[in-house]
Amino acid sequence: MKAKVLLSLILLCGGLAAPSARAEDAAQPAPAAPAACELPSYLLSSEAQLPKVADAIKAGKPLEILVIGSRSTTIPASEDASYPARMQAILKDKLPPSEAVHVSVEIQSKKTAEEAAASFVKLMEAKRPTLVIWQTGTVDAIRAIDPDDFRGAVTEGVSALQNAGADVVLMNLQYSPRTETMISVPPYLDNMRVVAQEHDIPLFDRFAIMRQWNDQGQFDLFSPSRGPELAKQVHDCLGRALAQFVIDAAHLGPAQQQN
């Protein structure tokens, strides 16, 4: 028993010490990034790479990004402030002026991963993107789809996107403390991590990132506020984080970056 208590204490101390140690090697924020967006670097780094994005930028070809998402991809009545739009602005800012960046958004409202994946072949033929950011999981979690089926659907979707010749980034669910007692999120987070690992593609951990902001007090995500301000700020930070994440995963050296 004593040993166990001791072990817990050691890990607790480790847990407390770790964030402060990590803060030092935090990602270099873009000069204009608000302090609220700050994140420890481990949330923005991935071992997996985006070779096609890197090739396109090195060759000076336009970067066509497609975000496949759901209702949480946008803010009602303020699409320009949503994270895909913010990511486009930041990428344009960070990449050389000669680099054309275009982000298009495909909203698959109220569709599970399986339903969304069914449309991928057609979608890819129409858009031909270099990079697809697939944000999914929320509808599956709300409808409590069998996690194994969910994993299968995500696997198939990712394969379809890759077969169509695009790099893929998976993005998981939002951290939503208000609905934590109502929606069981962990199985869907776990399975998305597994699929990302199996396919060796980057996973943008939106859940952990938003939780970090909430825990550190940068945003109060419990807030019942009806106005769009909080949503706009969170999406701005998400867009910045996502742009940084893509640049890092594509291993763009300083030569390919403006800042």
Binding site: L12, S72, I75, I145, S176, P177, D190, P224, R226, L230
Partner: protein, 415 residues
């Protein structure tokens, strides 16, 4: 009343004179000698209840004390195992003494209590979710609010909830418990015949469940978050231990080889969990191993979780003897008290977690508030457990005369 209450020697001894004649055929199972209450069971069930409560709250500093952060298994395994153990102990004895029919009737009475408790919690959940649905309109979360859609068809939802098919988050344990208890008469009857074969059948069911992906369907779609067909293994194993298995295993448990295997396994599991929280370590994990191991499935009680629980249990039994004086210390009293009234305290814990969420959302979400809520929740659980104990003691005293006069002993272990 809980099952555990009946593990005391006195109540069982009180039931004895009614059916003192030993059965002609010697039963295949043997019950541990009636003696002192097994406080270790109460202690760990109390601990599991506290941990389940803390795990149901949003993550905070206290969450780091819960065992799921240090290995594969968590408090649910402890809870279900001990439930199997105590249920078999109490109703197994009832079956030997009063026969199959009466024991089954008593089990069903218990199932009814758990069912009513579940429906009560569901009502509280409905109240909470309806309130959130009408008061929370953050545009960041329009999508997540889709969860409220079921409020549009209360006719279907409530009926499905009564059928245990619609179960909101954090309300999965009681339906599992209900199904396991419903199966208990069959399990006990089979254990009476051949305990090892029963355990073997349970393993077969577990393997078949994994092989053919059997599950309990839920409403509106999906499956039960705790698959009873898989989790029965832990429950039956608990029952098997209670009915003499633990004693027969004592040599294995005492062997240093077992101890070292358990320690090595727990250390390895600890390392794996560490890589979840310190991603810097994850590149030290062989990819092959990761692909084989993940996902560690809670729904179907992954083998890794089950073995992790076994390793923890083996070490606990070894290093915490049943006559450890610490069990009587006032410091562990709150835990033991909570463990002795598990159904009430479990429900209270689920309710307090709902209430805690509500306060965090409505008042403030700071770390201090969080700590206050967690600690006061635990204090309330302790307080209520104490009141229940007190009431039971008083009621038993005043009820003792009437009971003896009527000779109604079949409810003595009624639970």
């Amino acid at each position: 009343m809980t099952i555990a209450d009946q593990v005391t020697g006195s109540t069982i001894a009180g039931a004895k004179p009614v059916d003192a004649k030993p059965r002609a055929a010697a039963p295949a199972i043997s019950l541990p000698a009636i003696g002192e209450r097994e406080l270790r069971l109460d202690l760990f069930r109390g601990l599991a209840l506290w941990l389940i409560f803390i795990d149901h709250l949003p993550t905070s500093l206290l969450t780091w004390f819960t065992i799921r952060n240090y290995g594969f298994s968590d408090a649910t395994e402890i809870f279900i195992f001990i439930s199997g153990y105590t249920a078999a102990f109490v109703y197994g004895r009832a079956m030997l003494e009063s026969g199959v029919v009466i024991a089954t009737a008593r089990v069903l009475r218990r199932v009814w209590q758990i069912y009513v408790a579940h429906v009560f919690l569901f009502t509280i959940f409905l109240a909470e979710i309806s309130y959130v649905a009408t008061s929370f309109e953050n545009p960041l979360y329009t999508e997540e609010m889709g969860i409220m859609d079921f409020l549009k068809q209360p006719d279907v939802t409530i009926v499905q909830a009564l059928l245990l098919r619609f179960r909101p988050v954090n309300m999965d344990v009681l339906p599992l418990y209900i199904v396991l208890m419903l199966a208990l008469p069959v399990i006990l009857w089979s254990m009476k015949w051949k305990p090892d074969v029963t355990l073997g059948l349970s393993v077969v069911l577990y393997v078949v469940t994994w092989q053919y992906d059997l599950y309990f369907s839920a409403y509106p779609n999906g499956f039960w978050a705790f698959n009873p067909l898989a989790w029965q293994l832990l429950f039956v194993f608990g029952a098997w231990c209670a009915l003499g298995g633990a004693r027969r295993m004592s040599r294995i448990l005492a062997s240093p080889v077992t101890m070292w295997i358990a320690i090595a396994y727990i250390a390895a599991a600890f390392y794996v969990t560490l890589t979840w929280y310190l991603p810097q370590l994850s590149h030290l994990m062989p990819k092959r191993l990761e692909q084989w191991m993940y996902p560690i499935d809670k729904t179907d009680l992954d083998v890794l979780r089950f073995t992790h629980f076994l390793a923890l249990a083996a070490l606990t039994v070894r290093f915490l003897p049943r006559d450890w004086p610490g069990l009587k210390s006032p410091w562990l009293r709150p835990l033991i008290l909570c463990g002795q009234h598990s159904l009430e305290i479990f429900c209270l814990g689920v309710f307090l977690a709902f209430a805690g969420h509500f306060i965090l959302a409505e008042v403030s979400g700071g770390a201090v508030m969080h700590a206050v809520i967690s600690l006061s929740g635990i204090l309330i659980m302790w307080g209520v457990a104490w009141v229940i104990s007190w009431y039971k003691r008083v009621a038993d005293k005043s009820g003792a005369k009437t009971k003896n006069a009527v000779g109604n002993a079949d409810m003595a272990g009624g639970g």
